[in-house]
């Protein structure tokens, strides 16, 4: 019985899906279908990253398109030896794209600096004054709207850092690697970001 597998054959012929690095190699060699496969594998992750910063579906789609476009044009520079993985390389591109979009929005005077309503202000005061205030679905919806309004008052750098720390649960070294900052710079910026958020919340006391 001859069941030996030819290890020199392409992964598909061996019944194994090619890994990201192999797909990248094929895209660089001109295989467009390989890029579509990469897109299908990673688009949900990119969409989730975009959803951390933007609420509207069109904005999220815009980030997905821009991130994959940037990734495609920079694929030749991507080296699997230097980067940890294609996924983390793409995540870095996605975070940078979100950051650029946040900066662009901040420059626009009609940006998302909506006023906090009376109801939201009362909710916030209640949460600040009463220890362990209950969370129901209604208050969660208020929290989401309010959170977006309050975070829009922070600088894009502060917002990026807070999301990476508190939502993505990244370590300081991971953030440093993604942003290409030093570890101490991340720590200083994180400290400033928390102080800025406290300042924003303090206005409602």
């Amino acid at each position: 019985m001859d069941e030996t597998v030819d290890s020199s054959a392409p992964p598909e012929e061996q019944g194994v899906a090619p890994d990201d690095a192999q797909l990248v190699g094929r895209v660089v060699a001109g295989d467009e279908a390989a890029f579509e496969e990469l897109f299908n594998r990673h688009r949900r992750r990119v969409a989730l990253i975009a959803g951390r910063f933007f609420r509207r579906r069109e904005q999220i789609e815009e980030i997905i398109q821009e991130s994959f476009t940037k990734a495609y044009l920079a694929l030749a520079d991507f080296s699997n030896e230097r980067e940890t993985s294609f996924a983390s390389w793409l995540a870095r591109i996605s975070f940078n794209t979100c950051y650029d979009e946040l900066r662009r929005q901040k420059r626009r005077p009609e940006g998302s600096m909506s006023e906090v309503s009376e109801e939201e202000s009362e909710w916030l005061k209640g949460r600040l004054r009463v220890e362990g205030a209950g969370e129901d679905i209604e208050s969660a919806a208020v929290a989401r709207d309010l959170a977006h309004k309050l975070l829009a008052r922070l600088s894009p750098e502060d917002r990026l850092l807070l999301v990476m720390l508190d939502v993505e649960g990244m370590s300081v070294s991971e953030i440093a690697e993604i942003n290409r900052w030093s570890v101490s710079k991340v720590k200083v910026r994180a400290h400033r970001a928390r102080a800025s958020l406290r300042k924003v919340l303090g206005r409602f006391l």
Partner: protein, 136 residues
């Protein structure tokens, strides 16, 4: 550990609420999932890539043209300088000085004052000679 208070609310409490709000703002899985499942998304990405590549090829052309500008300017300056010096040289050759014959060469000297004889001149010379002979 000293905990600062702002209007009776500790910084720790503000930080905790801040963290909750940041997390609340990031809860957007449904929209993210809807955006990721858009069937036209890949086609749009491809179209954007093609646009970007076309734009980049234009940029490359512009860069090459931009690099050629100094060389083209130098050639233009040299051409203008050559033209000016040539026209100045032509202007000075019209003025006759003592050195002029040396400048313009032997042929110039020989033919400079030469006038071509017209048929009237020839006729007048013959008639003069005839009159002189007749008067003798």
């Amino acid at each position: 550990m000293v905990i600062k208070k702002r209007d009776g609310v500790s910084e720790e409490r503000l930080d905790r609420l801040g963290r909750d709000l940041v997390r609340a703002s990031a809860v957007n899985e449904a929209e993210a999932e809807a955006a990721a499942s858009n069937g036209f998304l890949y086609a749009r990405v491809r179209s954007r890539i093609e646009q970007r590549e076309a734009r980049e090829s234009w940029l490359v052309t512009l860069k090459v043209a931009w690099r050629a500008v100094p060389a083209m300017a130098l050639v233009a300056v040299l051409a203008v300088a050559l033209f000016i010096s040539a026209s100045l040289g032509a202007g000075s050759s019209g003025v006759l000085t003592d050195e002029s014959p040396l400048d313009i060469g032997a042929d110039g000297v020989v033919f400079a004052d030469a006038r071509a004889m017209s048929s009237d001149d020839v006729l007048a010379t013959i008639l003069n000679e005839d009159e002189q002979e007749a008067s003798r």
